[in-house]
């Protein structure tokens, strides 16, 4: 566990360094790299002088790094001139939407994927297994943003039954139940996209583990004891198939889950972290972009750490080492 924590620490430091170094490595005025050309043109000389002073851009690089670290410690992620607000405030207003979207998607897809995987692995080679395997493998190959685009076109444009973008209807005074319903309607398409994508990954892993586990002697013993089929399937074989799903959820947090959420939010203009990152790229709002990178990394590393802790609880074999 300690080794893992050190890895996560090193990873986080690497992102810190990158955040600090990138704008300073760019050719030309570092203020321009930090704030972009347009913001710089609009700045008054006083403001420029103030910013130079604040970042210590005229001081040696190690001093600049100390200044950078100490402002981070105070929770100061910088200031977005494009949005005219502190970066930390901008991020905190977008974060809840992503947590809602990704959290719900992870729970739903874990349930669906594991059940489908167990049933499919149990019926290995039969028609249901074949159909599920081909179907899930095809969807797992689809890029997340294309699945999102397809759902958007079908339900939003062709059928016109679900809203196309945003997280709630703008400028409406909904409250209570009608607000909740409005949020759910807006959540439906991005959530469905993520569930489709995550489910197929969980399914493929569960099925593979099921197939391998079913060949183990203890399954034969369980069957020989006369246990019901459902009990062998879910309690004996199924439980073992949970571990890889958990591990991969942890390992894939960094790429699959973050990437999936990011692209899907972009497709549906969902106002979470993905939507924020997208807008910051288009507007060259580098302070927000850097703040997002730091925040997402911190979240991913925390999620990984929680998964590691859970894993030890679920699998007594790994206790003690690692």
């Amino acid at each position: 566990m300690r080794v893992k924590a050190v890895n996560y620490g090193v990873a986080f430091l690497a992102i810190l360094f990158l955040n600090f170094l990138l704008p300073r490595l760019m050719p030309g005025d570092p203020l321009m790299a930090i704030y972009g050309e347009e913001a710089l043109l609009q700045m008054t000389p006083q403001l420029k002088a103030h910013l130079l002073e604040r970042f210590g851009l005229d001081k040696p690089i190690w001093k600049q790094f100390l200044i950078y670290l100490s402002s981070l410690m105070r929770g100061d992620l910088g200031y977005s001139y494009y949005r005219n607000a502190p970066v930390s405030k901008v991020i905190l207003s977008h974060l809840p939407w992503t947590l809602l979207l990704v959290g719900t998607a992870l729970i739903l897809s874990a349930i669906l994927g594991v059940i489908a995987g167990i049933e499919s692995g149990w019926r290995r080679g039969r028609s249901l297994d074949r159909a599920l395997l081909v179907g899930m493998m095809s969807t797992s190959g689809f890029p997340s943003f294309f699945v999102g685009v397809l759902l958007l076109l079908f339900f939003g444009v062709i059928l016109g039954v679900l809203p196309l973008q945003g997280a709630k209807t703008a400028y409406s005074d909904l409250s209570g139940l009608s607000l909740a319903l409005d949020i759910l309607r807006h959540l439906a398409l991005p959530l469905a996209t993520l569930v489709v994508l995550f489910t197929s990954a969980n399914y493929l892993l569960t099925r593979n583990t099921m197939v391998m586990t079913l060949g183990e002697p203890f399954i034969l013993t369980a069957k020989a004891k006369g246990l019901t089929e459902a009990r062998v399937r879910y309690v004996h074989a199924g439980r073992n198939s949970l571990l890889p799903v958990l591990t991969s959820t942890g390992v894939q947090f960094g790429t699959r889950i973050v990437a999936g959420a990011l692209f899907v939010e972009v497709v549906f203009s969902y106002p979470g972290m993905g939507g924020l990152i997208y807008n910051s790229i288009l507007m060259r709002d580098y302070p927000v972009l850097q703040g997002c990178a730091l925040m997402v990394t911190a979240l991913v590393l925390t999620a990984n750490f929680i998964v590691d802790l859970l894993y030890v609880k679920l699998d007594p074999r790994v206790r003690g080492d690692g």
Binding site: V3, N7, Y8, V10, A11, A14, I15, L18, N19, L22, P23, M26, A33, R124, G125, M137, S138, S140, G141, F142, P143, S144, F145, F146, V149, L150, L152, L153, V157, L164, L204, N208, V211, M212, G215, V251, F253, G254, T255, V258, A259, L262, F263, V266, V267, I277, Y278, I281, L282, R284, Y286, L289, Q290, C292, A293, V296, T297, V300, L301, N304
Partner: protein, 276 residues
């Protein structure tokens, strides 16, 4: 290599994967012969499909068919480039760490573990949005961020190969390090090298398209992701039928071929999954 290919073509997933991938390779080679200039602007914008423009034109009057077919080259280039680079770095790091061991192994694996913990996509977006890389720089960038998984697996395989009797025998007969690696370790790594290549290629195609989709693309290359990025702005017009769907479908098909190949290979490497 030949063994793996013949093994792949025995399995239906492997056959489909190989077939589709070969088709894309062929398209990438002959694309200039069957398309016009994908960059050429014209005044006929947002045209529906016609005899002149098979898939109509986009918002600046470029021929969508030409862009779709030229896009194959970009994706294949990224797939092959990143596939080769990551597999090469992974093999060098993994095999050398496995064979040499000691502090060298310890230090390298520390780096690998830290890299594995970093959400690569975030780093990629961060760097790419500052640097605005060309296609070649992007290939390099994706590769630098994605060799660690392969290195771990290849180290594990090297360690297991090292203990096998035929390697000890070769060593007992006085085989040198280089000879051992070329003659005995590399062939044992074969399927894993190919699987690492396919995994990286698939990830790279997705990454390039994804970055272009969120607006980070080299404007001088034709990219399916960038096509979708622009087409999505016009979703309320019927243009999505010939502008948004074709690049998305092509991208999915290419990624799918890698998925099928990877799945088929997994069963070659892990015999317990065979006949499933």
């Amino acid at each position: 290599m030949g063994e793996v290919l013949s093994e792949l073509s025995k399995d239906s997933f492997g056959r489909i994967g190989l077939g589709v991938f070969s088709l894309f390779l062929l398209l990438a080679l002959v694309s200039p012969l069957i398309t016009g200039d994908p960059m050429l602007h014209s005044t006929s914008v947002l045209n529906p499909p016609s005899s002149e423009h098979m898939l109509g034109t986009n918002d600046v009057g470029q021929d969508i068919w030409s862009r779709l077919i030229r896009g194959v080259r970009t994706s294949i280039l990224v797939a092959v480039g990143v596939g080769i680079l990551t597999t090469l770095i992974g093999a060098i790091v993994g095999v050398s760490a496995g064979l040499i061991g000691g502090i060298y192994d310890e230090v390298l694996m520390r780096i690998v573990d830290a890299l594995l913990a970093i959400p690569a996509i975030v780093v990629l977006i961060l760097i790419a949005s500052f640097l605005r890389p060309t296609l070649w720089t992007l290939i390099l960038l994706i590769s630098i961020l994605h060799w660690q998984g392969g290195a771990r697996i290849m180290r594990a395989q090297t360690l297991s190969l090292k203990e096998r009797a035929y390697i000890s025998a070769a060593r007992a007969f006085g085989a040198g390090g280089g000879y051992l690696i070329l003659k005995h370790v590399m062939p044992g790594l074969g399927p894993i090298l190919i699987s690492s290549f396919i995994y990286s290629a698939r990830m790279a195609v997705f990454m390039e398209a994804g970055l272009a989709f969120i607006g980070i693309a080299d404007p001088t290359t034709v990219s399916w992701g960038a096509m979708m990025h622009h087409a999505l702005k016009f979703y309320y017009l019927p243009v999505w039928k010939w502008w948004l769907l074709p690049p998305g479908a092509a991208l999915s098909l290419l990624i799918l071929s890698f998925t099928f190949l990877g799945y088929s290979l997994e069963r070659i490497i892990e015999p317990r999954l065979r006949n499933a």
